[in-house]
């Protein structure tokens, strides 16, 4: 899918004229620099060095190991964009700068397109053990960690852990759209994990309900296998497996 340059530019102008960007001169320049580069050449690679020189007035001997200003600013810019989109939901396109790179993605939003990242927010409280053995709760905690880790690899999903939920509460962010709850029962070496994915908006309907079986013979391998099965089922339930094809560059 080819990018509509005029729509992206119009969206960029609107974002940069908002109060959040008006006084953040360098971050506005950072955003415009990477967006311009991506629009001019969709296959472009943007290096930390390029941004340091073009936006932060660093010289040709700039060394990112001793001056990580671009990495600092990239993290702050991602936070500013998140805040901007939460205050001003985009109508046509949103600009994402995925972690680990500086080339932005232009993600169409609105009817018929993949949901915006914030629409796929999932609260993941610690999975519960229904047995009195404290080791079983440790096993549950391990599965929770694995699931959070695997879901977090998908940039379209915003995973919110219990501690993160407390943070969001303070920052008055929108509530997560989904909650993922699971409990584990164990008899001998056999484990049964019951999982529910519920939509918190629109009446609280259950989007996914599954039972997974495993054994405790190899704890780490079992935790990872359960987490992978859960991730796969969640992706299918949320229709994110093919959503990447909606992204345009």
């Amino acid at each position: 899918m080819s990018v509509n340059t005029a729509i992206v530019n119009q969206h960029l102008d609107e974002a940069l004229s908002s109060p959040l960007f008006r006084k953040a001169d360098r971050q506005a320049r950072f955003l415009r620099y990477v967006v311009d580069a991506a629009l001019q050449s969709p296959e472009t690679t943007i290096k930390e060095f390029d941004i340091a020189v073009a936006v932060y007035d660093r010289r040709a001997d700039y060394d990112p190991r001793t001056d990580p200003i671009v990495r600092v600013e990239a993290a702050r810019l991602r936070a500013r964009l998140r805040e901007y989109y939460e205050l001003t939901p985009p109508e046509s396109v949103r600009i994402d700068i995925p972690k680990g790179q500086y080339v932005p993605r232009f993600v169409p939003v609105g009817h018929g397109h993949a949901p915006a990242v914030s629409d796929l927010s999932i609260l993941v409280p610690p999975f519960r053990s229904l047995s009195p053995d404290p080791d079983d709760q440790n096993f549950c905690d391990g599965v929770t960690e694995e699931v959070v880790h695997k879901l977090a690899q998908d940039h379209r999903i915003r995973v919110i852990t219990q501690s993160a939920a407390a943070w969001l509460e303070q920052r008055e962010k929108p509530k997560p759209r989904y909650v993922l709850e699971a409990s584990i029962r164990r008899v001998g070496a056999e484990i049964r994990l019951t999982l529910h994915l519920m939509e918190l908006t629109g009446g609280g309907s259950t989007r996914l309900s599954n039972i997974y079986q495993a054994t405790t013979n190899n704890i780490f391998a079992t935790q990872e296998r359960l987490a992978e099965e859960i991730r796969r089922d969640l992706s299918a339930a949320l229709h994110t497996d093919n959503a990447g094809s909606e992204c345009i560059h």
């Binding site: 001056d67 500013r80 501690s163």
Partner: protein
């Protein structure tokens, strides 16, 4: 911020030499190299300033799991920054100097995961400072 991020923040600070202000002094030295215009904003004598920064770092680490108190304190600090004339762009060299301080002091014991945790925390903290500053100016 997830529990891993909090753990990496705690571990990186725990690896700094206990009771030694040398890393913080290096932080300020680096900050003033990167942003000489920031130096006149620090009116306090630098040893005392380093002690204040070190105490604040310890306080932040203690309060990572108490976000309400942490946010309130950061916003209050941001409000005070308004009076010092701090601009949004000036938060960038502070973050750079902070990461540099850990890298210089800890070497390879400052892992990429720790750097990622500090980048995430600093993005959050500087945003709260900015929010406090905006609210004070309104």
């Amino acid at each position: 911020m997830d529990s891993n991020t909090i753990r990496y923040l705690q571990e990186s600070v725990a690896r700094l030499p206990v009771g030694d202000l040398a890393p913080v002094n290096e932080f300020y030295r680096r900050l003033f190299e990167l942003a000489p215009e920031a130096q006149p904003m620090f009116k306090t004598e630098m040893d005392l300033q380093a002690k204040k920064f070190s105490d604040m770092l310890a306080w932040v680490i203690e309060h990572l799991e108490r976000p309400h108190e942490l946010c309130q304190e950061l916003r209050a600090l941001g409000a005070r920054h308004t009076g010092y004339g701090v601009k949004i762009d000036q938060y960038a060299p502070v973050g750079s100097a902070l990461i540099w301080m850990f890298r210089r002091t800890l070497g390879d014991r400052f892992t990429p995961e720790m750097e990622e945790a500090w980048l995430e925390f600093y993005a959050f903290a500087s945003f709260e400072l900015e929010r406090g500053s905006r609210e004070a100016a309104a």
